[in-house]
């Protein structure tokens, strides 16, 4: 059983929801990332989405674009991110880690070598933002054979036919993008999210996580009531940006945001 499946089943048994922080690897420097991951887990994170820096993060807002730029100052490559996961695994063999990023850095390594290196390091899943299912026939199969879950996005604009397709090719969990927009957008409508989540429930048994627009304990709690997982990115990355000049404070300060959300979700 994959780490993701195990984690979601355990949470389900306790009737708890997954809290999934996103951080960009190497932001604001490569030394911060692994300690921050551990701190997030201690604060109540169930899964970690680790962003792979890319020069042109088209689907992200300014907050994550800047995080990529900060990481790229240190020339953080996909292989370095995989090494960070291996380092994380020396102390934590339970918490699932999903790499989130764009296709080009993966292509630069090659699908097969990437998948082998990722699995060897203890990566559990891959979310490739600019690789929709119709372009992913080759990679999806290869990644799943290697033991990497392939996580796909769904959005408010996704048609019913496509929702079905995505349910069929996804594994690990499904990621519902709550708003029309890029990461860091505001204006989350919980009722609309609930409607869509309920529609998708009828199509799949995969856990459904919701991201984009969750910024505080209240919105985390509201989403936890309708979905299986709550994904939080830009607020954390924003805090990292504020602390970029004093990176030693990042693990404690950023994980505090997660602790607050955990508390609200479990209350």
């Amino acid at each position: 059983m994959s780490r993701l499946q195990k984690r979601f089943e355990a949470l389900g048994a306790e009737q708890r929801k997954a809290l999934i922080p996103y951080i960009t690897a190497g932001d604001p420097n490569p030394q911060v990332t692994v300690p921050l991951m551990h701190a997030l887990v201690k604060a109540g994170a169930d899964v970690i989405e680790l962003g792979v820096p890319f020069s042109d993060p088209m689907a992200d807002g300014p907050v994550i674009q800047l995080a990529c730029e900060r990481a790229l100052v240190h020339k953080v490559r996909l292989l370095d991110v995989i090494d960070m996961v291996a380092e994380f695994r020396t102390q934590d063999n339970e918490t699932p880690v999903v790499l989130m990023g764009y296709l080009n850095p993966i292509e630069a390594i090659g699908y097969e070598p990437f998948a082998s290196a990722a699995v060897a390091a203890g990566v559990d899943g891959v979310l490739t933002v600019d690789l929709p299912p119709e372009e992913a026939l080759e990679t999806s199969q290869l990644f799943q054979e290697k033991g990497l879950d392939t996580i796909y996005l769904m959005s408010p604009a996704t048609s019913t036919t496509r929702l079905q397709q995505i349910c069929e090719c996804g594994s690990g969990y499904l990621y519902y993008v709550s708003v029309k927009g890029v990461t860091g957008s505001a204006a989350l409508n919980v009722n609309e999210v609930a409607d869509k989540i309920n529609q998708v429930r009828g199509m799949t048994r995969l856990p459904l996580a919701v991201g984009f627009g969750i910024r505080d304990p209240e919105s985390a709690k509201a989403i936890a009531e309708v979905a299986d997982g709550v994904i939080v990115g830009s607020v954390l990355v924003n805090r990292i940006a504020e602390l970029a000049e004093s990176p030693e404070r990042i693990p404690e300060q950023v994980s505090q945001l997660i602790a607050n959300m955990r508390e609200a979700m479990d209350a």
Partner: protein, 406 residues
């Protein structure tokens, strides 16, 4: 029929998923898929609709001023002393470049789709101007994203866009040039899909853009073909065009694909020289990857990060290229070469002096290569250069290099 010819025969490419061989496709976030599917559906319907085609043709004739002339550059030919050089005068179009052919087409699509707001990315500002122009004409709200670096280089076009009622947004992320403007326009589109049409300015991006931009620009090659037959009595031996994202080049090339006797030469921006790495020539010195929704040749480092580009001409300063060019390169049906900044500037001056035609710096790359080629060819051979735009917008850049300030 050769294999190449069979593979490219007719207008059957891209395939249903937008692939040109291994290139093209639709590599975008799920958040954009719905909008692209809608656009594809509307375009498939309208492109087969004679009424839509008639309205497009009418606008090209009466608003853009087509057909543009095919002009025999007699004094340039004499000076070079080789093959005859003809110029396809896209610089004479309304707004001064080929870009308007495409914006007319896409604005018509926006109108048919009932979208009140259009957005565009721009490098040199020519596409931004062409977008602002059609938006003014149709009464659409228009926002143009432009790299902060280009806003500086192309101040005249920025002011033109503002006069036309468009809002110009300087983009400060990344390298602050065309690719970043495109990222930012995509972000706007994802956020405002319901009321917004994204007018992409070149034959690149996710399917169906490379196809529809090509289709709108093909008027260049179709006219050139007919004019060659009428004026010269035969097809040219080669057609030559500069390649930024590749729209003026594919518009010229595509109608000649099945004419295997016609060489097709795309000229990329060699910047300070391809060997220096400071250029914008992905077909000459790049490798296949995925950016901006398509698989194509890119300038990237070993880790797959997109590299900064350099060209004296803002309109060629792009690390990728339209997928059809990537495919034509691999098939060997088209050749791609690079011309450096210096050579382009010299061609700019030469054409201005001997023909009284001031070319855009983008187009000057094509002129420069045509001059090189013509020198090596006998006098009975014919080259057609796509003169994609006029050079007024570049006067400041050239003056700067001459040390002149106004």
């Amino acid at each position: 029929m050769s294999i190449q010819n069979e593979q490219t025969a007719g207008q059957a490419y891209p395939d249903a998923k937008g692939h040109f061989g291994p290139y093209g496709g639709r590599f975008v976030s799920e958040t954009l898929i719905g909008a692209l599917e809608e656009l594809e559906e509307v375009y498939e319907k309208l492109s087969a609709d004679p009424a839509f085609q008639a309205e497009f043709d009418r606008d090209l004739a009466h608003y853009v001023g087509r057909p543009s002339p095919l002009y025999f550059a007699e004094r340039l030919t004499e000076k070079v002393g080789g093959a005859q050089i003809y110029l396809k005068r896209e610089d004479l179009n309304h707004t001064g470049a080929h870009k308007v052919n495409n914006t007319i087409g896409q604005a018509l699509l926006a109108k048919f789709m009932g979208k009140p707001r259009v957005i565009a990315e721009t490098g040199a500002g020519q596409h931004g101007v062409a977008s602002a122009t059609v938006a003014a004409r149709l009464g659409l709200e228009c926002k143009v994203y432009m790299g902060a670096e280009d806003v500086k280089r192309q101040a005249l076009n920025v002011y033109r866009m503002r006069l036309l009622g468009a809002e110009v947004i300087p983009v400060t992320s990344g390298t602050k040039t065309l690719k970043d403007a495109m990222n930012e326009a995509m972000r706007d589109w994802v956020t405002n899909v319901d009321n917004t049409f994204y007018i992409i300015g070149t034959a690149a991006g996710p399917h169906p853009y490379p196809k529809l931009v090509r289709d709108f620009q093909c008027v260049i090659g179709r006219e050139t073909r007919a004019q060659s037959l009428a004026q010269i009595g035969r097809l040219p031996d080669a057609v030559i065009a500069c390649v930024g994202g590749g729209s003026n080049a594919i518009g010229m090339f595509h109608p000649f694909i099945d004419d295997v006797g016609v060489r097709m030469v795309g000229v990329e921006a060699g910047g300070h020289g391809v060997a220096t790495g400071q250029h914008a020539a992905p077909l000459s010195d790049g490798r296949p990857g995925v950016l901006h929704g398509m698989r194509t040749y890119l300038m990237e480092d070993d880790a797959g990060q997109i590299l900064p580009t350099h060209s004296v001409s803002a309109g060629l300063d792009y690390p990728g290229v339209g997928p059809e060019h990537a495919w034509l390169k691999d098939l060997g049906r088209a050749e791609y070469v690079a011309i450096n900044d210096d050579e382009a500037l010299e061609a700019f001056r030469t054409l201005t002096h001997v023909e009284g035609i001031m070319p855009a710096l983008e187009s000057s790359h094509a002129i420069a290569y045509a001059i090189k080629m013509a020198k090596e060819m006998p006098k009975d051979k014919v080259l057609v250069v796509n003169l994609s735009g006029r050079g007024d917008k570049d006067i400041h850049t050239v003056a700067d290099l001459d040390g002149i300030t106004f």
